[in-house]
Amino acid sequence: MDYFLELFFGGLTRGSIYALIALGYTMVYGIIELINFAHGEIYMIGAFTALIVSSVLAFAGLSGLSVLFLAAAAAIVYSAAHGFTVEKIGYKPLRQAPRLSPLISAIGMSIFLQNYVMLAQTSDFLPFPSLLPDLPFLSDLEIGIGSTEAIILMTTAVSMVLLTLLIKFTKMGKAMRATAQDRNMAMLVGVDVNRTISYTFIIGSTLAAIGGVLIASHIGRINFYIGFIAGIKAFTAAVLGGIGSIPGAVLGALVLGWTESFATGYVSSDYEDVFAFLLLVIILIVRPSGLLGRSTAQKV
């Protein structure tokens, strides 16, 4: 039972991180029907920013939670700026173009950002400091969950609640939903669609940056390529849950996290990805629009 719980929480943690990144994919897809391949890189840039800022702060003599919060804030700002800029440079000029063009542009953006970080930093793995605080009472509880995992879960949960409130109740959230459902009609009621799309990229990037800081602290090392792997997994999660659906992205991410965790625990870690993608294939055969995806009523 202990082993099961350990795998359960491991999968939940992993799934939470996937969810934070998957939300960016699904929100962007929902609003402009584009798979933003550069999204994984935004997450990677968040991790790098946190590493640089925390190193500088540590050098300046700061320690503890202040380092975490300042590093996370810097990561969010820097990632959001990148997400915003990528859309303005890479996708906005192609909004009337055939759908393949922005997709190729997205792949280009992804490669560009990877190489830019590699050249500006290094291609080697860099150690990432453990910024997250220790919660000793958790180990006393003996439920198989560590401090880092608990913090990741809580942060993710809070982010999801805030995101839901934002989308459900704020003016910006309503504009985002309206734009996703019918862009021209949104314009006809006075929504500034360009600004709404920018907001979507900024929010998605913010979540990715939070994910980046969390996972880097958890794993303890980063390089310029981590965005690619995480991006593919999060994208899988978004498709699994039904791309365009926000609860779907979270559900898909959790299912994916658990699949990987249990496959690793009970079968072999060699088969982690096999099971993840096998699951994707099966779900797409049974439910082509994903777990919570809206049936394929294609918009014209």
Partner: protein, 239 residues
């Protein structure tokens, strides 16, 4: 005709290389109902989309209250006081009735006024009040048309553009919708630009009309004269 509320002067609009509007000149005075009738594909909807800025004209001028609005962004045109009920109603399917109405008032800041107008809309169409928490996509065609008109009214427009409001509706709804159009014009003083295939009904509610054929205005007259015109009768009124 200067000093009109809306003026289109030699408007040319293209979809890619295909010219959809050729030298369109239309003038709308404050407080009137004008109608634009014509066959499918004549360019009626394109005319409205050009006014709203969704498909901006390539040449010509559009003036609203004496100010050029061609090339102005669609959301800014709404802010100036032009709302459109597009063809096909275009309700936000996953937003509730109330949220759809909220979207109509998207640019308004006076919360109390918005709440009051929503009550007014619910009086106009009691069925919408009953369905206020239902997603817009689950409404019937007639109810969606009521919602679409209400959503546009929530912006308190000076000029309301209506594209085929009677299309695909049961006769009882057609009558209701035209009654409401007349009421909006008479009671609120809202100027109405009505695009219709149902020329018969349109020429009954409108003060003046324009007839459009393959991207051009071919006739302009009072609604009464158009109703009695032999050519119009044969082509559009089925007489």
């Amino acid at each position: 005709m200067s000093g009109g509320l809306l003026e289109l002067i030699d408007v040319q609009t293209y979809y890619g290389n295909i010219q959809a509007l050729k030298d369109i000149t239309i003038a709308v005075e404050e407080g009137e109902i004008i109608t634009l009738i014509g066959a499918n594909g004549a360019g009626k909807s394109t005319t409205l989309m050009s006014i709203s800025g969704i498909v901006p004209p390539r040449a010509g001028e559009i003036l609203f209250m004496g100010r050029r609005i061609d090339g102005v962004r669609p959301n800014d045109i709404v802010a100036l006081g032009i709302s459109q009920v597009p063809e096909g109603r275009r309700i936000f399917p996953y937003l509730t009735v109330t949220e759809n109405l909220d979207m109509g008032a998207f640019l308004r800041k006076d919360k109390a006024g918005v709440r009051k107008d929503m009550e007014h809309v619910f009086e106009l169409f009691p069925i919408l009040a009953e369905r206020r928490n239902q997603p817009g996509g689950t409404l019937s065609g007639g109810e969606q048309q009521m919602l679409a008109i209400s959503r546009a009214l929530m912006a308190r427009p000076r000029l309301l553009l209506l594209d085929e409001p009677s299309l695909g509706l049961a006769p009882i709804y057609v009558r209701l919708i035209f009654d409401i159009i007349r009421r909006i014009n008479r009671e609120d003083g809202t100027t109405i630009f009505l695009v219709e295939q149902n020329a018969n009904m349109a020429l009954k509610v409108a003060h003046r009309g324009y007839v459009m054929e393959t991207g051009r205005i071919v006739m302009a007259d009072t609604a009464e004269n158009l109703r009695n015109d032999e050519g119009v009768k044969r082509a559009y009124l089925g007489m």
